[in-house]
Amino acid sequence: MTAYIIRRLLYAVPIALGVSIVCFALVYIAPGDPLQTLLPEDASAETIAMVRKAYGFDKPIPVQYLIWLGKVVTGDFGMSIATGRPVLGEIVKALGNTVLLAAGAVLIAFTLAFILGTIAGYRVGTPTDRAVTGFAVIGVSVPNYWLGIVLIIIFAVELNVLPATGMGPRGSDTFNLFDWNHFRYLLMPMVTLSLIPIGIIARTTRSAVAEVLNQDFVETLRAKGLMEWEILLHVLKNALPQVLAVMGLQFGYLMGGSILVETIFTWPGSGFLLNKAILTRDLPVLQGTILVLAIIFVATNLVIDLLQTAVDPRLKRG
């Protein structure tokens, strides 16, 4: 197992490199110029040339990439072109905020979806199943930015019980999860963000449970006279690897932050940061954020693989 983990970690290096190369290339292929945010609309050609040189954009693209990579391996992600602030600090802060949001959404989504999916899978074809499936379809189909706006209208504008935007009351520099005055800022974005994973995971759990229930060993268990809850435990254990794989993917997506949800609630997470960086072609921020998110995604998948193996030894890798 240790060898497997080391091998997977080593695999992550070329993946991260590949992601960074593709990302670097894509940003250059896309129309636009990172210097647009720096320069006034009628900057002269001489000014543009000087700034291009100062930021190193006058060098060939492969050279720019290698310089950037050389700094990144020493932990220097450079400075944001738009704000002049260190990129690493920006990423760490934004990711911290997204982790808060994603963890909350994961907690809601995984718990609710797993329970609902299990009930539906256990009662296929019944009104309960149809109700859960309907809810899951709504979860997948309703755009989360729409739900966010509806929640804001109900709870912030009409009822005035929750704040519409931001991540803490005025005067607070840090977020305190255990203080209601802070936590209330998290509620609506967290619920909004959990909607899609609820739908996806509930549907996966339902089909996995229903599929396992049709297998012969369940009949055997019943013939042996096991209680229904004991049978359920066996079924869930067999359905879990499939569900875990989907949960892992969803967790990875949530960690990437939701551009739409974070923008609507003005939640300064990685999605908000990425959106800003894309619009302004802030290359150092864009590169750094995507690299870090890719590493998180790879790490999440590794953890899920290991969990799957622990749950179902048949999946054990050599």
């Binding site: 110029d33 000014t47 000087m50 930021y55 602030r85 209208i153 912030a156 935007t165 003005t266 300064p268």
Partner: protein, 528 residues
């Protein structure tokens, strides 16, 4: 019983006094939701376009020449700032003699002295100066590129020598913010540290900043202009790029003042008691045209496009929140003049003009963006413009791209994108150079300047040369008026709209006067 009543009265009086004292001590806070996605940088020249200038630049800092934003009846013009007067040297038309305001102090307590202006000039021009900052250089270079040197003449006098004579030079000074030499030197010229402890001479002092979340400023009790000492204690600036979110934040009481509510949320805001303020301002939603490669090189085609537009219909699309753009500057601009043509909706005339130059249907390609600073509602507006142009005989193709990509098309000029006949980049018309000269002067051909489509007209160039040498304001105004009239008659652009910049304000916020400017003065606002 009597004692009880006395006791009750005493308690009530004490409670009343306590409440009054609390009310007197309560800090009045103005919370503003900006359209920006982040806090504008605080190191002098702000980013985030003119919104950064509006909320951070002119609040933390002063310029030598300021804008008079005290009224909304006419277009804002310049007024004395850190300079109390500026005159051209009678012996040298490239040398401006400037008298500096006495008794001004930086927020850090140092005195404002003439050497500060020299130091600030080096900060944005001298590459080997320790205070030089390339980002600041880039941001202000188009305004200060004509400055040759700054000389100290006395305790309160300086001279600014320009490379070329420029009668409009004082306008350029209105964009150049002065930052504290004391503070930056104390921080070893570290701009990252300075951004967290900036020091200016403006009506607000820096209090705190949480990047991406909020910037807090407090009133400068000892501001040099007593009329502009803020009438509230604290100003909180919050970036909120999503228009729906800004409206919701105002309705739920989280902010008091929002920028640019979308037209469809305005009825809801009004029904909740919010005040909507609007005013025409020097903004131009138009198309700069390609005068060399495509069909717009013919004056008849340019005029046809202008006649083909039904601007009242476009205004209805925006629920009335625009001024019809028949000319380059809004009619309230002092140098608007009386152009001999007015491009009122006349599709038959447009068709006739197209046929007169054998361009029917007349193929054109317009580069537009999906969003962007000052772009209003670019997609529905452009769709409507296209349908109106096509109805008159054009065959219009819209080339849609994101804002940054459109800027990248706009900056290098028509030579790099000869297949594009027009670009829809909204322009600020804050001063005569920005409003008129840069779009039609041959010396401003892109990429050197912002004459994107390479408009060239010897008569126009000669007039602009005269403007630069007209130091008498009355003579200069006559020439600027003539220039504008010539631009309109020659259909130097396809004009569509001037924004009215709606803002929504909570009922407890009083005293705001919307100036006809990109910049606004928040200091008179009282938060009840």
């Amino acid at each position: 019983m009597k004692t009880l009543k006395r006791l009750a009265a005493a308690v009530s009086v004490t409670a009343g006094m306590a409440m009054a004292a609390q009310a007197a001590n309560a800090e009045s806070v103005l919370r503003v939701a900006m359209t920006a996605g982040d806090i504008p940088i605080t190191i002098g020249q702000p980013d985030q376009g003119f919104e950064g200038y509006r909320f951070v630049g002119y609040n933390l800092y002063d310029t030598l020449v300021l804008w008079d934003l005290s009224q909304g009846e006419t277009a804002a013009d310049i007024k004395p700032g850190l300079a109390t007067s500026w005159d051209i040297d009678p012996k040298d038309n490239k040398r401006w003699l400037i008298k500096l305001r006495e008794g001004v102090k930086w927020h850090d307590g140092c005195d404002f002295v003439p050497e500060d202006v020299v130091w600030n000039f080096e900060r944005i021009s001298k590459e080997d100066a320790p205070q030089f900052n390339v980002k600041q250089f880039a941001d202000i270079r188009n305004r200060t590129g004509n400055i040759d040197r700054v000389e100290v003449l006395g305790a309160h006098d300086i001279a600014i020598v320009t490379k070329e004579p420029d009668a409009l030079f004082p306008y350029q000074l209105s964009y150049w913010f002065m930052i504290s030499k004391c503070r930056l030197t104390e921080l070893n010229n570290d701009y990252e540290a300075y951004a967290k402890a900036p020091s200016g001479t403006g009506p607000y002092k820096f209090a705190s900043v949480v990047p991406q979340e909020r910037l807090e400023l407090v009133k400068n009790e000892s501001y040099w202009d007593p009329n502009r000492i803020p009438k509230h204690d604290r100003l909180v600036l919050i970036p909120m790029p999503e228009a729906t979110t800004r409206a919701a934040a105002l309705l739920s009481g989280e902010v008091d003042f929002i920028e640019a509510p979308s037209p469809d949320t305005i009825p809801r805001l009004e029904s909740s008691g919010m005040t909507i303020v609007t005013a025409p301002y020097p903004h131009n939603w138009s198309y700069q045209l390609n005068f060399v490669d495509g069909n717009f090189k013919h004056k008849e085609v340019r005029q046809a496009a202008n006649y083909a537009l039904n601007r009242p219909e476009i205004k209805a699309l925006l629920n009335g929140y625009m001024v019809e753009g028949y000319t380059n500057v809004p009619p309230s601009t002092p140098y608007h003049g009386k152009p001999s043509v007015k491009y009122e909706y006349d599709p038959a005339k447009a068709t006739e003009l197209l046929k007169s130059v054998n361009c029917y249907p007349c193929k054109i390609t317009l580069a537009i963006s999906t969003s962007g600073s000052g772009q209003m509602q670019p997609l529905p507006m452009n769709e409507l413009v296209k349908s109106q142009l096509d109805a008159a005989g054009f065959d219009t193709e819209l080339k849609v791209m994101d804002w940054n990509a459109l800027l990248d098309v706009g900056r290098p000029g028509r030579e790099k994108n000869p297949e594009i006949d027009g670009i829809n980049i909204s322009r600020a018309l804050q001063d005569p150079f920005s409003a008129l000269i840069r779009h039609v002067y041959t010396k401003q051909h892109a990429p050197k300047g912002s004459n994107w489509g390479h408009y060239s007209n010897p008569a126009v160039d000669a007039l602009i040369d005269e403007i630069y040498l007209s130091f008498d304001p009355k003579v200069r105004m006559e020439k600027l008026t003539k220039l504008h009239e010539m631009m309109v008659e020659d259909a130097a652009m396809l004009w569509v709209a001037h924004d009215v910049n709606p803002r929504a304000i909570a009922p407890n916020v009083k005293g705001f006067v919307q100036a006809q400017s990109w910049f606004q003065d928040l200091t008179p606002i009282v938060v009840e």
